[in-house]
């Protein structure tokens, strides 16, 4: 991406932590004794009429509510376009529909789970609520789903075709999907919980879910939280390519490693893939405070969206949440610039650069 400055005019996040309506900055870590972090769901009735709510599945309620809260928090009018990313969409609807196909021999299938199992159903609901008839797209690219949604938004804003984009990501975990992923080694064999995520030198991580939305625009608005100044995606980079990519990324944005106040990484306790973070930052930013974020939200395809939300809140508050302070030996002197590095199972790697408003 170029040096275009994209303002996060408002945001909202539903996660396993009290990020939606709690005091996230002073709250203790919400823990799980299992290997999956479950999102804390708010009271949806404040956002969605009861007659609409009754039909919506969990993922739709989470996605729509987060989107509406992000717009509300921005204090801005409805977005011109709606762009989201999801790795799996509404899994519970997909599973119900597939189960019914088998149970009822491909006949007498309920329309609701089918409609809601499509990836873009959250976008459709948001558009109906916001009376938005503009561009509406959902990217489904595993660990690059949110990143492509954000890229699309940044490009549209940079071209000046739109004033505001509603950009977000949503993901849910089900028991069936957790089991499937456990069979291919996604999760730790021992049950460890999120509080001890980095204490076990073993393969795998813990699962997560959540929904994160941003109202993005070219203008600095009264409630603007942070500025997204850069993003770089790398697919299955070699060690050499990755090692070159970070200094090139920083150089492109005219900054030195010393200009970064805080690094947020997607470390997830998996010994097979956490070395990417260690190698890269010991080589290029050895003295910059670094905090991981997946002990808060768990591993999932669109966890990068949570990292961007976290960085924006840190820059807005100019403070580090209490639950992240134990990870740094010293607090950053200032909170002007945050670098995020996240990868999904060592395949999809992304750098995000955010600055304070």
């Amino acid at each position: 991406m170029s040096k275009h400055r994209c303002y996060i005019q408002g945001s909202a996040a539903i996660s396993a932590q009290p990020t939606f309506d709690g005091d996230f900055f002073s709250a203790p870590l919400t823990t799980t004794s299992a290997n999956n972090l479950v999102a804390m769901e708010p009271d949806y009735k404040a956002f969605i009429p009861p007659n609409s709510l009754r039909r919506m599945s969990r993922m739709l309620k989470m996605g729509l509510t987060t989107a509406l809260k992000a717009v509300q928090n921005s204090g801005q009018p409805s977005p011109d376009v709606i762009i989201t990313g999801t790795g799996k969409g509404s899994l519970s609807d997909t599973e119900k529909f597939i189960r019914d196909i088998e149970a009822y021999k491909e006949s007498a299938l309920n329309p609701t789970p089918f409609i809601q199992s499509t990836y873009n159903s959250v976008n459709g609901l948001i558009a109906l609520q916001q009376k938005s008839t503009g561009y509406n797209n959902t990217f489904v690219h595993r660990g690059f789903s949110f990143e492509n949604a954000l890229l699309d938004s940044l490009l549209q804003l940079a071209e000046g075709n739109v004033q505001r984009t509603l950009t977000g990501a949503f993901e849910e975990m089900t028991a069936e999907h957790f089991y499937i992923k456990s069979r291919i080694g996604f999760w730790k064999e021992a049950t460890i919980g999120n509080a001890a995520l980095f204490e076990h030198n073993t393969p795998g991580s813990i699962s997560g879910e959540g929904s994160t939305f941003f109202l993005l625009g070219n203008d600095k608005t009264p409630h603007a939280e942070a500025v997204i100044t850069g993003m770089k995606m790398l697919y299955k980079p070699s060690a050499e390519a990755l090692n070159k990519a970070l200094p090139q990324f920083l150089q492109k944005h005219d900054i030195q490693p010393g200009d970064i106040d805080l690094v947020i990484t997607g470390r997830n306790g998996d010994i097979n893939t956490d070395h990417y973070y260690r190698v890269l930052f010991s080589a290029h930013c050895p003295h910059t405070p670094e905090v991981p974020f997946k002990q808060l939200c768990g591993e999932h395809d669109t966890a990068g969206a949570f990292a961007v939300w976290l960085a924006a809140q840190i820059l807005k508050r100019r403070a580090l949440p209490a639950i992240l302070q134990p990870y740094v030996s010293h607090l950053p002197k200032t909170f002007r610039r945050v670098l995020i590095y996240n990868h999904f199972i060592g395949e999809q790697h992304t750098f995000f650069l955010l600055e304070r408003v």
Binding site: P50, R54, R55, A108, N110, P111, T112
Partner: protein, 85 residues
């Protein structure tokens, strides 16, 4: 007939997830769509599925469906007419 209507109301509440609605809140002759329960076109498809799954009745003609799904009374009469004597 009364037992069938009560059962049907319970099934409608469950199938459509009509929270805070009890069988006694549904008038036998009140319209299910528009006024009354305020159901919509997706609900009508859900009710078609209900008839097929619970009573083994498939409504082939959509115009016929409009009349059948008008109220709990009309649904119950239709089910009864399809059941063996």
């Amino acid at each position: 007939m009364e037992a069938l209507k009560l059962k049907l109301k319970e099934q409608i509440i469950e199938a459509l997830n009509l929270q805070d609605t009890k069988p006694e809140d549904i008038d036998d002759n009140a319209p299910l769509f528009g006024e009354g329960l305020g159901l919509d076109s997706i609900d009508s498809l859900e009710l078609m599925v209900l008839l097929e799954r619970q009573y083994g009745i498939k409504v082939e003609d959509p115009r016929e469906g409009r009349k059948i799904l008008a109220s709990v009374q009309s649904m119950a009469e239709f089910i009864q007419s399809k059941q063996p004597a």
